[in-house]
Point group: C2
Chain length 449, copies 2
Amino acid sequence: MENLRDKVLKTIDKFSLIHKGSKVLVALSGGPDSVTLLHLLNQLKDRLSVEVAAVHVNHMLRGEESERDEQFVRELCRSWKVPLFVERVNVPGISKGKNVEAVARRERYRKFKEVLESWKGDLVALGHTASDLTETVLLNLTRGTGLKGLRGFLPKRDVFIRPLFEVKREEVENYIRENKIPFVVDSSNLETKYERNLLRIEIVPILKKINPSLEDAILRETEILREIEDFVSSEVKNLVSAYLKKEKFCIPISTVKQIHPFLFSEVLREAYRRISTKELSFEKVQLVRKILEKEGYREIFPHRGFKIYKEQEFFCIEKEGKFEKFSFKVDNLPTTVETPLYRLSFYKNRGIPILTVREFEKNGLIVRSRLPGDRLMFKDFSKKLKKFLIEKRVPFSIRDKIPIVETSGRIIFIPNLYARRVNSPEFIGVEFEEKAESSNSRGEDSKES
Amino acid sequence: MENLRDKVLKTIDKFSLIHKGSKVLVALSGGPDSVTLLHLLNQLKDRLSVEVAAVHVNHMLRGEESERDEQFVRELCRSWKVPLFVERVNVPGISKGKNVEAVARRERYRKFKEVLESWKGDLVALGHTASDLTETVLLNLTRGTGLKGLRGFLPKRDVFIRPLFEVKREEVENYIRENKIPFVVDSSNLETKYERNLLRIEIVPILKKINPSLEDAILRETEILREIEDFVSSEVKNLVSAYLKKEKFCIPISTVKQIHPFLFSEVLREAYRRISTKELSFEKVQLVRKILEKEGYREIFPHRGFKIYKEQEFFCIEKEGKFEKFSFKVDNLPTTVETPLYRLSFYKNRGIPILTVREFEKNGLIVRSRLPGDRLMFKDFSKKLKKFLIEKRVPFSIRDKIPIVETSGRIIFIPNLYARRVNSPEFIGVEFEEKAESSNSRGEDSKES
């Protein structure tokens, strides 16, 4: 078997994990992997010209065992003469809930970075091995995650490096035996314990009957997937940067038609992520792809406050400007009122008759956006305006923009949707004109951006 | 549970598997999957406006059992009134060798296409299910195949379609039970029986403890991989077509530097495949990537007869012209001989003295390419020319092009490598000039293409 030290040096070289003069903080749980990693890096520190320290996070989740682990790493680092930082963390909202491990993990990584910063270090070295990678990939494949899941964790990401990336568990075990290195049962690695154990104990040994070099196969495959991911993401970034301006992404439909549907989906996801910091689900992406094939103006609101739409020439993603409520009092005629979607003009004896002159002279009228509790009167019944708009399939996004005409507290007109008609020779009438939506949905940024 | 018929109709629609008026040949082993497929398509034939027939290939590999299966499908098709073609095939080089199933499979698919053609049909429908896909993906992941392996088989490829692509084994079993459909144990599905059984019986049930919808997860993941593959291959095809001319692929180095390394690797593989009909291994691809980073002229011969090289401005792949042996007799002076790599000139009393005038007048000299058995004479020993060239690190590709100068059966001169010097006032001398390799390695196609 290849010497473990040489193998790790190769990994460090292959993925450019550590540069000369770096300060490397080893995340030390006390388990076999992290202890091996610390032992190796501590031995290699002169050769690599690096400074090495360790950090241990005690989550205090398992009482005495946690204390034992902390005590163990303290003694180990003392005897190896490695500076050690110990952080005791109370995971908020404790208990043995399913999420506690995910929370603890996030908390741990946050602590690693904090300690790294205060130590003025460069890198945090994690003890994950090719065996962990194999289990992660199988687990993610089983759960059904996307490309990122299938390629598993990375040899390097941000300040985190994984020098044991290409090392198998057996190699760690041999190294520990040969070098008589003490360790505790890795207590910080509780996450998804049940599922990981199924994989580690039941699945992997059977798969190794088919291919004894299972970990190497997974390493090769994840390498291909990492390369693909890198390629796709560089193509995506080029396109997103080219068409993203000030929190608004607009790409010509003609360009969309030239790029591969897969690339478009990824561009869509990335542009939406940058604008909204939210994720577009697989289903929403499919939906967007479908509207692209349709004629005319189409829009989708994947999350409140964010809009994806296509019009004649452009496909766009933008923040919806937070809409201002409006209210205009009308008491002399003729008057034209500008509202977001409609221009309304009121005349004497012209247009749709919605009010008698007498009523108008007594109460005037108001053009406003809808209010909670609004109701519409019909012949024999009344109905909540909200319910009415839903029944009429008025999209949520424009409900606040529709002008409501009321007089003395009663709704008498909504363009295209509702009109109380009066039958009187002397009446106040309304005429309305729909504003072209496209004129404000392209080119300029929305108010809020 | 969703009605199986509706589910299959959705699959057919989603992947555009069958068009109206098609003639569909169902590959019928007699096993549950193929019998279910035939039952479904036979029921749907009016709705889909298709004509349905079946084909059974009897490999006669398992004696009576093979006969029983053939008999079974004959009776089934008679009772369902489906035209049936039966092909009896003797797999050449029989025996229970490991490869017999792969050979049988290839033979079977060939027969399917033959029958399809003689029936003037359009499509061959195969009974593979989402459960088969799950096993295939897990198997390929374990063995360590690339992207194509991870995405498993396709819903449609060439004339072959898989209408049960999204159907799970349990759904087939329920359908068979509900509709009281007879079947035999699927005898044609012996391939990699041991490994498949490990997956089917041992692995999949455990993974389903983690995710009961395992097949759906795999379907989603393979869909992503198919999309990526399609995207990558369209990008690759664009580049290969742009730079492949008459069995020679030449792409400017400046372009290579602009495209992503992953894309370049795929372009390299595809261009090499088109020129040589051979595959470039992962290692060879890495090697090519490395020479690109180096200065000056570099070349690689991945397979005999095919050359990959980079020079100042271009990176190229080409067929090596098959080299013609050469031999020139020299008997008057001065004479200049043109050989592939060198121009040699022979003079009296000028140049490197390799021959006395007397020797020359008696035997003349020959300039030729090397011959098997050539040996070189040194002071106290002789050495095989082949061994000598290897020791001198002369690349294989140019060994046949090197000019050998001999007189009366003895090698006396090889440019840059060997010279027998004579010490005589009256001598025959040689001068040589290296031809610029680059002048024939760019631009023109090689002789053979």
